[in-house]
Symmetry: D2
Subunit: 342 residues, 4 copies
């Protein structure tokens, strides 16, 4: 069963990565590609790495263009997905790479996004407990944020097994593509090469409530999250360092066993052998999340580190994986676990 | 027809890239993987980006291990391929990613490599005139050097059409993976990040006679090559800036027409639309070579610039493409024209 | 009063940075330069960026060579400083850039370094409470580790003012020069460019007890530290993200006031204006530490972020600054607060 | 004799580097700092690496603000310097970091800049034959372009000694700061990291006629230049690979002797010892140009490679060096030959 898929927002980084993956997906035919300010330009100019689409020209984003596809990927600025989804009707599988339908809590949404809450869709992280069930057959998918993907995969086994206290401290480094393709002075190569810098410090980053939502659901109690994102001098990748106090009596072996159990059958999340730590280079362009953990008895904390590609597993790969689950395709169809390294 | 392929030298950068591509090749089953100093170690440690092979363990390189495969890829240090190939026998398709069988001229070989000449095999650059014919059905393939790939693709149409004088000047920038995985102080990240530096200047780089061989064959006369390689602060990619004096009466339009004609049916070599220049990022992990040219009437030169991924089109991709031709598979099987960008 | 200074270990990154700073120090004349494996080589080859010393040749490290100087900088592998210092006698100002004399606790030393404890010298972080007094007139100085410098400067005002609980969680990203100049495969440019990776996770990094020592001294109680270092794709710089639970009743304004008070007269540590966050690029080659803080009321934590150059303020700059204090020079002599940016 | 210097265009990369150097210049007091779109903002925000100037606020660029200084550095967009210089009067030393007064040939100017020719000022490259004489006492200085600095220093000894034919082929790699601080999509970190790309190919880059002017003046005949600039993934630095056919009978030894002779007394231009090649990292933030050459007898060419920091020797350092010559200060005052490495 081949499906025809449109991509709205095909000129940005998320849209480009969706297209890169769809080009290798045996059951997807790429349909209409749309954009706003870049409408009328060719993909050859906008996404010069996608040679097979070089002759395709971006249409303006409109319901007319997107209708008639089996699947529509939305890679739009926040706030634009709700209307498009409504007009496309309930039979089209709509996969929103933006934030609009990620948060279930209206107050959280309003506090962090400052606009009316559009609701919540089934959440595109199949690895979370119950994640696949929620996605199977769904016609609407909210693709997780890149940081929440890295952090939720790193910590859900700990909260599922009750290993740690409900106060997580997370510091994550992201490649610059996470900040998008709009030209801003602080994102210039001259500024970012050779430099690490933080942003959105102190609980104000919009991905914070999404992490809290995911971890609290697994823990069965409210988990507080101190989240600090930093910008790293690399195009892609997230390295998330996550820690929390271990509950009394929890040992390193307990932790390891819980993670092995939780991840045993996951095709895209791997706990590395002891002694080996994840590097973002190992997941460059891959849909894999690599994990490793350590117990620090002196500090009384469990530290879990995950590495993902923010554009692949963190965005487009997660979207395609969730589409596969929703449509009944093999979950890994069109997705690679091989990174491009070195 | 599925073939079984072994890789000798599977712990290095070339071997790793061969494996990455073979993992996505529908007609290849990955057989034995061998190494020397790393024998006994798992691929999970040696090539952490190749998750699907993480449990595989490197065997010592030996004829016993390599025999019995349909195809053997050699990613060995210079000078080790001849003996392996001889012992494997004439029925095994042997694809040498090293230099041993690239040069037809004994004196060139001895001057640049300082060891006895082993001979020359069919040359794995299908795009050269007559290239595919030489490869079809061949049981031996000499994969071109990465620089000669970038340079020969950039200049062969000019020499085939008689556009330029037989004196080429080439300056190329390469990512550091071209220098291999052996730890040397000048290749440390601390040394290469933020720095450009030349090496092998003055006609002494071993890829020089290979370029001369390729271009002279096309030109039908001896072409001299001034070649300067430089090391660029990036893991992958070659940007080759190639120029030569235009012959009297040759116009920019003539040059463009000749290139369009020569590359019209090539699946992996693209002349970009006028005004667009190649960037190595657009071919990251792809088997594509992107070209653009300009005529400088004041200087009287044609400048042609090519971008490839040194490990893909420049090594492992070229090897797989040539294998496809040799074995009668579709030439692009298992190879992507989509780069991983940004 | 001009002093004559020798540098033992002049071929490494720490030694090179000491020399770069001494070249600009108006009261220091550079004397003997020594090394071990590189003895006999010229600085022009070993430190090609130090043109003014290009003709100087490294002598073998020996007491004979080092004796007779007013000041001796030791940039040696761990464990070699004690004997050198003993033999040099009490009149020579010995400044150890290594770890040998940093830790006051014998058990800590043995647990983390696995060798006999050599003792502790006055600690070269003048900004700590009492720091300058301990250094003034001292003939022995233990230069702090790069991470402890970044972390102690970030958190000492919080502990001095009793703002936070004695459990700090620290994640720091370091440029690759922190790992030294010895060629190791995982430090190759091909491996580190485009990649973030952790190491020494779980309380095992040797800088951990040094942080605990510094913060506990300021807090007046044992402070636990969960420290995770990560390797970032840049040659220099440390970005340290430090946090701890705020004590009841502590507000953002309290925290800001305490930091402004603590740092008011510090020439090399700056709390940035609200809204501006430190970037390592801003301190490239400078002796400055830039700080910013945020209070996260939902998570109940104070987050303090510091940026330093690991080789300058984190090693050689701290060494020269401490030498200035010890010898009675103006503290900032030969040190710049201007980074090389972009 | 201390002079007071203003900087117009203090928010850009060139202006920032001028300020970094002036902060270390013992005979310059920094006066007014002006900008256009950034007027009213503090240097602390605009140039966060210049801590000593953090409290200074940018004034709007106007004659009133600039008048009354001994020296005015102009780091303005092309075309704005002429009027400012005229109004400042003949007693002020005006140093133009822009292009307006570099070209002596009216037709060249109009062809490459498309605006009326403003004339030519003494050229701020003291190392060229007669360069210092032209600058001594001058109240107007045209600072060379960054590429022409690297190329002219590399090739002037060859043309002065008649070693090569008057057809130079140059390929240069530049760090991204050469493209300025204005936010453009193709200069985003996501785009430039991990990528090499050319621009201005085919003789159309504006620095081409400046190179021709310099080399022709030295050669005493018209020198043609084929110049290809490329953008490298690093913030700073230019590596220029320059070559030309050797004249009959010229040997490698001749070439080396000519360069040693020409550069013998130059404080900022060094021919490296044989076998050592320049790297841009070695001149990071330094005013040094490092050179090395090779003779390729097979190709019949002399290859000369130079490395500079485009912002230091290539812009601000050249400006300060020329100011020193013009005002009678020691030529190297406030300038360092020590790069910040690694």
């Amino acid at each position: 069963m081949t499906v025809r898929a449109a991509v709205a927002g095909a000129s940005g980084y998320a849209g480009g990565e969706v297209l890169r993956l769809l080009l290798g997906h045996p059951e997807v035919e790429i349909g209409e590609l749309t954009g706003n300010s870049n409408a009328g330009q060719s993909l050859g100019v906008l996404q010069p790495h996608l040679r097979a689409l070089a002759e395709r020209v971006l249409a303006p984003t409109s319901i007319e263009r997107l209708a008639g596809h089996d699947v529509v990927f939305l890679a739009l600025p926040h706030g634009q997905s709700a209307e498009v989804a409504r007009e496309l009707g309930p039979d089209v599988t709509v996969i929103d790479c933006g934030a609009d339908f990620r948060l279930r809590d209206k107050a959280d949404w309003e506090a962090f996004y400052g606009s009316p809450h559009a609701g919540a869709w089934p959440y595109g992280l199949p690895e979370l407990p119950g994640g696949r069930d929620a996605l199977r057959g769904s016609k609407r998918i909210a693709v997780p944020g890149c940081y929440p993907t890295a952090v939720s995969l790193a910590l859900f086994p700990a909260y599922a097994a009750g290993l740690v206290e409900p106060e997580a401290v997370i510091v994550a480094a992201s490649g610059t593509s996470g900040a998008g393709k709009a030209a801003k002075p602080h994102l210039l190569g001259s500024e970012v090469m050779g430099s690490m810098s933080p942003y959105g410090v102190g609980g104000v980053h919009r991905h914070t409530p999404e992490m809290i939502q995911n971890l609290s659901a697994v823990a069965g109690e409210r988990v507080s999250v101190s989240f600090t994102p930093t910008l790293a001098p690399m195009p892609r990748g997230i390295l998330a360092t996550c820690s929390a106090r271990t509950r009394p009596g929890v040992s390193a072996a307990d932790a390891r066993a819980a993670y092995e159990q939780a991840l045993r059958d996951e095709p895209f999340v791997r706990l590395l052998p002891e002694g080996q730590w994840p590097a973002t280079s190992a997941v460059y362009g891959a849909n894999t999340a690599l994990l490793q953990l350590a117990h620090d008895p002196a500090a009384g904390r469990l530290i879990v580190i995950s590495a993902i590609d923010n554009l692949t597993k963190g965005t487009a790969g997660g979207a395609v994986q969730s589409m596969n689950v929703a449509l009944g395709f093999p979950e890994g169809l069109g997705l690679s676990t091989a990174g491009v390294a070195p």
